[in-house]
Amino acid sequence: MSRRAETLLWVAQRASAAVLAVCVLAHLATLIYAVQGGLSGAEILARTRGNVAWLVFYTVFVLAVAVHAPIGLRTVLAEWLGWRGRARDFALIAFAVVLAGMGLQAVRGVVA
């Protein structure tokens, strides 16, 4: 991988971390608020279904995770297992696709 590509991955990880910082806080705050309010699962779904704002929020959240986690794992695999090179990068692209796919499916379950 070229140095420019490696640097852009680094930038993508920092940028996605900034997005995640906001998303995780909003997610946790919403979670605590909903639980303390005593909302049931059905009541929460009634509020989220068809709501474009939640759709956008959780889609961004899931995509940020799918960008952030594989790039971090890339370094972990290199430093802990000595696994570098194209095979590792393709495996991580597959991991990113699985993360995004599972996450977006969950978003669909809550919002659609």
Partner: protein, 239 residues
């Protein structure tokens, strides 16, 4: 103050080695280098170690003292001995030549790979470049420029241990001083050299280098500056 110090010294070579015990008379204002020198001159002349200036300028006497990398000529026994015991070993993250002598070739080769050489365009016929002492770039270079190349930061760095190709704090600190040198003409090549997984971007900001640097420099701060410069260049298509 106990009369004798119990000193454990690592003896061996590239193939391996073992600790050997020596009893060294305790003296006032004694440095770790004094202890090692006593062992070699009075107890065991076969001990190999390296030093030159004895006053913290040359950067040749760094060793692992009680588990941490230190410059031995300026490290007082008072500060590091635990219950009258000392252990002295070669620097970590470098191959051992013999006993306390680490092979520094890879360390300095990485300075070269980080484009640590100054490249100017002026000749003796040209006037001096005028650089304001208070300018931001000059102050950034000043903060990093007193490195003596002792290798303590490199031996302290967890990323070097995990990623042997990583250029390490000293080489990147040197690149940072040149990145802030208005006279230097190799900025593009240097930015490429310090980009990527084995250079500035690999730093995890553990700050062991900054913690251990005997000159109280902060390679971590310089590496952070390089990260910003490299990221900017990549986004602008200059890398």
């Amino acid at each position: 103050m106990s009369v004798m110090l119990q000193v454990r010294v690592w003896r061996g070579g590239a193939a391996g080695g073992a600790w050997r015990q020596y009893d060294v008379p305790r003296r006032e204002s004694q440095t770790v280098l004094d202890v090692v020198t006593h062992i070699q001159r009075a107890l065991d002349p076969t001990l190999a170690y390296r030093y030159a200036c004895r006053v913290g300028m040359c950067g040749s006497c760094a060793m692992t003292v009680n588990g941490a990398p230190r410059w031995t000529c300026r490290t007082h026994v008072d500060k590091v001995a635990q219950d009258g015991r000392l252990s002295v070993a070669p620097l970590k993250n470098l191959p051992v030549i013999r006993d306390l002598v680490a092979d520094m070739r890879e360390f300095f080769d990485k300075w070269a790979r980080a484009q640590g050489q100054f490249k100017g365009a002026r000749t003796r016929a040209d006037d001096f470049e005028r650089i304001a002492p208070g300018s931001e770039a000059r102050r950034r270079a000043d903060a990093a420029i007193e490195c003596i190349g002792c290798g303590v930061c490199y031996a302290a760095c967890d990323v070097v241990a995990a990623n042997p190709g990583y250029l390490g704090p000293a080489a990147l600190n040197r690149a940072w001083t040149l990145a802030n040198d208005a006279r230097d003409t190799a900025q593009g090549a240097r930015l490429r050299a310090v980009a990527g997984d084995r250079a500035s971007l690999a730093c995890h900001t553990h700050m062991s280098c900054t913690e251990r640097c005997p000159k109280a420099l902060s390679p971590t701060a310089g590496i952070a500056g390089l990260k910003r410069a490299v990221a900017r260049a990549a986004l602008q298509g200059r890398l």
